[in-house]
Symmetry: C3
Subunit: 403 residues, 3 copies
């Protein structure tokens, strides 16, 4: 494909973008289930167009200056770099809010700090996934402080908030995953009727967040997929989120069922997502203990939890399980890093053989995240993303080269 | 106000800027009392114009590349983000000098490091407020190393130094405060005759720097204000700085008086700035102990000092004290974060009720700092800021949008 | 020199740049001895032109967005700021890969992380100089992971790797040093026949990397210099690298000899580079102990090594030694920071008097590094650097000012 053809295809894609005012404009991106299906499709489309632009060496810079603040309350490499990449692509500089250096906390201080860092900020990306019932709440506290600051003339612009993983959802991950599926199958419409298994898998660690499995079942259930959620008894997700996903599935013409056998679940699966998580009730206890800084209690809980996990070492995705899937050839997905048996741990979520077979596709899966974040930013800031993208093509500025 | 009107007002403001060569060009910004009144007004004017430009979505970027180095020797959120915002607005990338990773120190190493980090730097922002007699001295050491490097052909440009708080002054804070007052009253000229109370206030911590009260009395005394400096006996500021502020006040047609009762001081105040600080003689002892790393001595000093503080819990700004001010309605100022009774501590500088009443204005007060820093940068680098600002308007580049 | 003359000289320099496809295009810069002499000269020429452009206030920005990742596995100030400066000059934003926050490691994880951080990266700069036999190997592991990612469609661009110091070489340092010499003597050709002494010097620390002396003898030996490598018996460098440098010297019409007396070596030296390093066999032992985390063993090795060092306190470059050099006036070089007797330590690599005499030239020496790195980036990304530089002149965008 030469450059002219590339640009024609891009123009065509942009032409198809709805000119209707999107519901994304000026809104935080906190949970996929707060967004309409049409808005989710817009994010996917804009992300795809931005990805194609970058491949065609067209710079989509739309900010001449401005800060994108990252507030990571938990470790991150993938999402940190994705956020930095997206910000940079659009012209924003990343500024880390390091809470150890700045003593931000809940309550009074959140309200104040949110404003203090935002005088020239366009976005705040937040990861807060450790405390159940806290992460998403914190994002909304920040949001309402920003609302007040903007309304009362403190802030010249209301910065948009992007959820980079909370206790409930991980929308930049689940949308990158959906973009991966849409690319492989041709479009989100082609996912209808496909069987996706979101399965718990064994890991020698404990306390892994629930946001990925919750995010996956909540989002994929909106596109008519038949979802099977499999986990050992007791390893439940947040009940309200599962219930909502069930409702989504019914409404979109798909289904959501729950089972407690990895083998059973894998039968005829088109797509499998084997990933460890901590049981909901354990996360609740952990949150209480963390709040009380009860270190002895935490130690004990970890011990009990790892002992419980150890009873489910069979929940490893391996070649035998793969054979059970549709044509013995299901698509394997993971948010990475995976616990790989014999590689990153003795026994883990996936056998070395199976992981290696699907390694490159999982890298591609991860590669959509920067574009998803950039699309969230662009649709938050511009009422008519289609027009902006068309203007970017017309401007035709090179990302690398002499402009 | 539509965009055209906004630009007309901007052009008018720029037209009024003196075309005379400012004393700011090529000079470090270390202490407000080293700057002429006319230069201080230029900083205020440029800051205001930059703020209006940003609101009008006009990008004032004047650097296509270049680094702004931040060297924080003490914690900071507000000033850190303000410095990052100002740098970014003008087109500079922030690079932190993390001394833990780089082993910079006083003496030989300062001279060398100052040059090593400056080959492509345009500004160095420094916060060094912990050691009395050291912070400002350190900035001058860095400055003279840069002078030598530039004169001898090591550096292509002499980076400007911006004092982001030292042991003597906090010029980006006091000028942001002055900009707040000028905005509220209409212009710096309208401050003449107004009574400003810079009052010590109780805090359950010790060792708070003297630079804010010193900066406030030194700067505000130059605009004909009647300043009352109130503190419990023994809680003196650096004597030379108070003496200089008294002289400023006399010369500008205002006054500076000292009292030892918060209630007395508040009478008929137009503006109140209740804020805790450590007594000068305690800071001197603390500096000696810190230099000797005498941890036991420091512990003892802290204990004695907190015990002494505890005798002055009545120095809290509350509704009763507010009633004493002009029409019971003085403007409340604070550099934030404030110690708020019942919120951030049991008993503090200000009652929760009074703080809440003035909370949004204190946020606005803080919001001027990025523009003050940007104005310091612009006037340091350009001989005729008025011309540059006029050219920015002519260029009319959008901050957000397709250029 | 006025601006027009400056630009004419620049155009002339650019005109002389070879239009032939360079071997630098699309290749990592890991070891100078993997590069042809012609390619090394191209790096020097491009670096010089970029330096002149910046002095003439011409912005050579060629990236509208893109990340330059820095991965420092050891402390750094000079190289960190040089990398940041170079990236910023060309339009890239620096993103630190902080391994403490991201748990990168050797093996599986390197392969994955290399891809995860590179979706929008143009360069990765790596410092990994602590483990003998590991640093350069790690860079190649990263490189082959990036090759795979690019070939298999994970990455839109293959990021270039720049060695910011490994166990074998320190190419950005040695090329900055060569640029310093070329500037002082007029061109690399003028170095032919000059005597350069790379001499061990005493330091009260141990474990200093071998990469600087190895880098210097490997690079300078390619330009017909007569190199004398002097060190106390037992303080050998990696034998294969010394052997290769000897061969270089023969081929380029120079020589490389080894001696064990600082005084002897200094005789008639044109250029001296007195710098401490740890003996090769000690570094090997240290690497083994570090791998085993044998803290007691490391402590013992350090003690033994410092005791051994202490026998060579006479290896200090002082006025007496300088008198032995050509006309008593050799050029002194150092990568900085130097261990200066009576300044940074009791007894060190160089006397205070001699260091002070050559201090400013060593600062200039260091000042070439940002341009060397920028030249590595530009020649990696553009097949015909001469054309790009000519286009930059034609575009004539100001670095500081209104464009």
């Amino acid at each position: 494909m030469n450059k002219e053809q590339g640009i024609e295809i891009l123009e065509d894609s942009i032409g198809k973008l709805s000119r209707a005012k999107s519901g994304l404009y000026g809104r935080d991106f906190l949970l996929t289930w707060e967004k309409s299906e049409s808005d989710l499709r817009t994010v996917l489309d804009v992300a795809r167009i931005l990805k194609e632009m970058r491949s065609a060496n067209i710079s989509p810079k739309v900010f001449d200056s401005g800060l994108a603040i990252s507030n990571f309350r938990d470790n991150s490499t993938r999402t940190r770099f994705s956020f930095a990449s997206a910000s940079n692509l659009l012209g924003l500089a990343v500024q880390d809010l390091d809470e150890q250096k700045s003593q931000i906390a809940h309550g009074e201080t959140v309200r104040e700090t949110a404003n203090m860092i935002s005088f020239m900020s366009d976005f705040i990306g937040i990861r807060d996934d450790i405390f159940l019932g806290e992460g998403n709440k914190y994002m909304r506290e920040v949001g309402s402080a920003l609302d007040e600051g903007f309304e009362k003339g403190v802030l010249p612009v209301r910065p948009g908030i992007i959820n980079l993983q909370c206790d409930m959802d991980h929308p930049t991950q689940s949308l990158a995953d959906l973009m991966h599926l849409s690319t492989l199958y041709g479009s989100p419409d082609k996912l209808k009727g496909k069987k996706l298994v979101m399965s718990w898998a064994y890991s020698p660690s404990y306390g892994k967040p629930l946001s990925v499995p919750q995010g996956i079942i909540s989002l994929m259930s909106r596109f008519g997929m038949n979802i099977e959620l499999a986990f050992p008894e007791g390893y439940n997700l947040i009940p309200e989120i599962v219930a909502a996903a069930e409702k989504n599935a019914r409404l979109s013409g798909g289904s959501l069922s729950i089972s407690h056998s990895m083998e059973e679940a894998m039968k005829d699966a088109d797509i499998v997502y084997p990933k460890s998580w901590a049981p909901f009730h354990i996360m609740q206890q952990r949150t209480e203990l963390l709040k009380k800084s009860d270190m002895a209690g935490l130690k004990e809980l970890e011990k009990a939890c790892l002992a419980s996990n150890a009873g489910f070492k069979g929940w490893e995705y391996d070649s035998a399980k793969k054979k059970l899937t549709r044509n013995g050839d299901a698509l394997y997905m993971h948010c990475l890093p995976a616990d790989i048996s014999g590689v990153s741990c003795e026994r883990g979520e996936v056998s070395a053989e199976e992981f290696e077979r699907h390694r490159i596709p999982t890298y591609k899966e991860a590669g959509y995240k920067p574009y998803i974040i950039a699309a969230m930013m662009l649709t938050n800031r511009f009422e008519n993303p289609g027009e902006v993208l068309a203007d970017i093509i017309k401007r035709n500025r090179k990302r690398v080269g002499i402009n």
